[in-house]
C-alpha cells in the first residue's frame, strides 16, 4: 500500500499505480480497475504485480523503475526526502527538538493516551488525528490539558491551521482576520477554501474533533480555543463550524460567547437553524450550512466582502434550475436515484441534511443522521444513498479515500451499471495530505460510467464539487476544467451540489425554496 502510494505520487502523469501481492482478491480489484485480465491472471499467488496506468510513456517508465527500486531496497520506500529523521521514539524527538510547541499524532488510538499525557506534562500542545481513542481517555487527556494550559486538537482532528500554516489535511489559504474552531474536518476545509476564494484569509482553524461537543467532554477544548482566539489581536471574526453539539453544550457555548465574547461570531451548526442574535446587536450570526457560513463570515467582514462572496460562492435558484434542467431532460424514465460517493465526512453529513429535507424518508446512508435510514450494507447502494467512503469499513487496511481513490473508482462504475441511477454526486478534496490529483485519478471512471449508461440507452448525470484553494498544488481551476471536460457539472459548494443533484433526480420538482432560505443564502434579516 505504501509503495503504491509513493509510486502514484512520483509524477502527475501517473493516474493509477498498484504494487500488490497477486492474491485472488487483489487480482480481482485490478481487473475491476480495468487492467487486462489475461495478463493479471498469469500472475501466481507468490508474485508481486506492478500495475501502472499513466498519461505518457515517460511517467509509465519512471513509475515502473521506482517501484522496482523500492521493492529491491525497502529502505527507499521512505527515502526521496533526505531531510527525513530516523528518530524512533518520542524522547529522542524531544531531544532533537527541545523547543517543539506542537506534536501531530496519527498512530493507533489505543497508544495515544500514554504519549499525550507525557506531552501535556511538558506543556506541549497536540493535534491528534487518531480515531478510536475512547471517550474516557479523551476526557482524561483534555481535563489534564486544561489544568496545564495545553491545547488538545482532536482526537479525530484531521485538519487545523495554526499561524496560517496547515496541519494535517489542509489547504494553502491566505492568512487573515478569521479564526475558526471546528468539530468537522472537511467542514473546516470547505469554509477556509471558500473564504480564500472570496479574498478573506484565515489565521487559525482549530479542529477539536467530533466528540468534544458531546455531553461527556462538555466542549472543553472548544471553549479553550474560543478563549485563545478572543485573545489574539489579529482575529476580528471567530467562527464555530460543527455538526450540532448536544443541546446543553450548544447552550453553554452560546452563553459563553454572548456574555464574555467581544468579537464578531459566526456559528455554523450544520443542519441547525439560521438566526441572528439581536440581543448582541448582530454580533453573533447563526447558520445551518457550510455554504451559508461563508456568506455570514463575509457579512461580518463588511458589505463589499458579502457581495463578493455572494457572487463567488452562490448560484441563484433560477440559474441552478436552468443548469440542472439541461441534465434532467437527458434522463430516461426509469432513472430516479441519487448515489452520493463522498470522501469527506462533513460533506456526507451536509448532503444528508439537504437531501433528507427535499426527499424526506427516502435517503439511506452508511453514516446516517437523524431522519436518514441506515444502509443494509455499505458496499451496496439502495434507492438514494449517501455513502461516506471514509468510514471505518472502507479504511481498514488501506488509506483514507482522500489519499487513495481506488475504492471510489470501483464504486463509480458499479453505480453506473444500475439503470435506476440518475445522478452521481461527488466531492473532490484538494490540499496538503490529499491525493496529488484526486480529480485526474477518477476521470477515466467518470468517462466510463457515462459511456456505460449511454450504451444502456441512458444518460448519467455527474454533479460534483471541488473543495480547494487556488494555492493548492493539485490545481483548483484545472481540477474543475478536468471534471467539465468529461461532462461533469461542477458547483461552487457542497450544499449547492447536493441541492442540484436532488433537482436532477426529481426533474426540478423538489421544493427547494426552504433549502435556499435555510442553507444556501443569508436571510433578508441580515
Amino acid at each position: 500500500m505504501k509503495i503504491s502510494d509513493k509510486v502514484r505520487r512520483i509524477s502527475r502523469g501517473i493516474t493509477e499505480a498498484s504494487v500488490i501481492m497477486a492474491t485472488p482478491t487483489n487480482k480481482g480489484i485490478l481487473i475491476r480497475l480495468g487492467f487486462p485480465p489475461t495478463l493479471i491472471e498469469e500472475a501466481k499467488e507468490t508474485d508481486i504485480i506492478i500495475a501502472v496506468r499513466a498519461q505518457d510513456q515517460d511517467s509509465l517508465n519512471l513509475a515502473i523503475q521506482k517501484a522496482n527500486e523500492m521493492l529491491e531496497s525497502p529502505e527507499k520506500i521512505s527515502s526521496g526526502d533526505e531531510k527525513k529523521s530516523k528518530l524512533t521514539d518520542l524522547d529522542s524527538a524531544l531531544n532533537a527538538m527541545p523547543d517543539a510547541n506542537l506534536v501531530l499524532i496519527s498512530i493507533p488510538g489505543e497508544h495515544v493516551k500514554d504519549i499525550s499525557l507525557k506531552l501535556i506534562d511538558r506543556g506541549i500542545h497536540q493535534q491528534i488525528f487518531s480515531d478510536h481513542v475512547s471517550i474516557e481517555d479523551e476526557l482524561e487527556i483534555k481535563e489534564r490539558a486544561v489544568k496545564n494550559g495545553v491545547l488538545i486538537l482532536g482526537p479525530g482532528a484531521g485538519t487545523s491551521i495554526i499561524n496560517g500554516k496547515g496541519i494535517g489535511f489542509s489547504n494553502a489559504v491566505k492568512e487573515g482576520p478569521v479564526g475558526i474552531v471546528a468539530a468537522a474536518g472537511t467542514g473546516l476545509q470547505e469554509v477556509i477554501t471558500l473564504l480564500d476564494q472570496c479574498g478573506i484569509g484565515v489565521k487559525h482553524g482549530l479542529g477539536v474533533g467530533g466528540s468534544d461537543t458531546k455531553e461527556k467532554i462538555g466542549g472543553l477544548m472548544m471553549l479553550e480555543c474560543i478563549k485563545l482566539l478572543e485573545k489574539d489581536p489579529d482575529i476580528s471574526v471567530i467562527g464555530i463550524v460543527s455538526k450540532p453539539p448536544s443541546p446543553s453544550i450548544q447552550e453553554k457555548i452560546i452563553k459563553h460567547i454572548s456574555q464574555q465574547g467581544k468579537k464578531k461570531y459566526v456559528l455554523a451548526f450544520i443542519g441547525g437553524r439560521q438566526m441572528q442574535d439581536n440581543r448582541t446587536g448582530g454580533r453573533i450570526i447563526q447558520v445551518g450550512s457550510l455554504a451559508s457560513a461563508v456568506l455570514a463570515f463575509a457579512k461580518q467582514a463588511g458589505n463589499d466582502q458579502f457581495l463578493k462572496a455572494t457572487a463567488k460562492t452562490s448560484v441563484s435558484q433560477e440559474d441552478l434550475m436552468r443548469a440542472m434542467e439541461k441534465e434532467w431532460t437527458k434522463l430516461s424514465d426509469g432513472q430516479k436515484y441519487i448515489r452520493a460517493l463522498y470522501t469527506g465526512g462533513t460533506f456526507t453529513y451536509e448532503a444528508q441534511v439537504i437531501l433528507s429535507e427535499i426527499l424526506p424518508g427516502l435517503i439511506y446512508s452508511n453514516a446516517p443522521i437523524l431522519n436518514v435510514k441506515e444502509m443494509a450494507s455499505s458496499l451496496t447502494s439502495e434507492a438514494n444513498s449517501v455513502v461516506d467512503l471514509g468510514e471505518e469499513e472502507f479504511t481498514q487496511g488501506r488509506a483514507h479515500p482522500m489519499i487513495d481513490p481506488t475504492i471510489r473508482k470501483l464504486r463509480i462504475i458499479e453505480e453506473a451499471k444500475d439503470p435506476e441511477v440518475a445522478v452521481l454526486l461527488m466531492d473532490f478534496v484538494l490540499g496538503y495530505g490529499s491525493h496529488p490529483d484526486p480529480v485526474g485519478a477518477a476521470l477515466r471512471e467518470i468517462r466510463e460510467a457515462k459511456d456505460l449508461a449511454e450504451r444502456g440507452g441512458r444518460y448519467l448525470s455527474v454533479i460534483s464539487h471541488v473543495c480547494g484553494a487556488t494555492g493548492d498544488t493539485q490545481g483548483y481551476e484545472s481540477s474543475i476544467s478536468k471534471l467539465q471536460s468529461v461532462g461533469a457539472v461542477v458547483l461552487p459548494t457542497n450544499a449547492i451540489a447536493a441541492t442540484g443533484a436532488a433537482l436532477v433526480a426529481l426533474r426540478g420538482k423538489g421544493n427547494i425554496e426552504k433549502i435556499y432560505s435555510q442553507y444556501l443564502t443569508l436571510g433578508g434579516e441580515f
Binding site: 528518530l87 506542537l102 506543556g123 496541519i167
Partner: protein, 56 residues
Amino acid sequence: MAEGKKLFNVELKVINVGLDIFYDALQMQNVKAVDINWRPTPKLEKEIEDILDKLL
C-alpha cells in the same frame, strides 16, 4: 492554571508521530518539523508480565 508552551504568534516547531504525509505537508510549507518513525511497543505476554512483577 499552568501555562503551556507558546503556540500562537511564534514559530511553529512540530514533532510528527505517525503518517509521513503529514510530515511532508509541513515540509512543503517550510514549517520546522521532525518525524518519528513510530512503532508500537511490543506487548509482554500476561504470564511473563506476572513473573516479572513478582521478580522486580
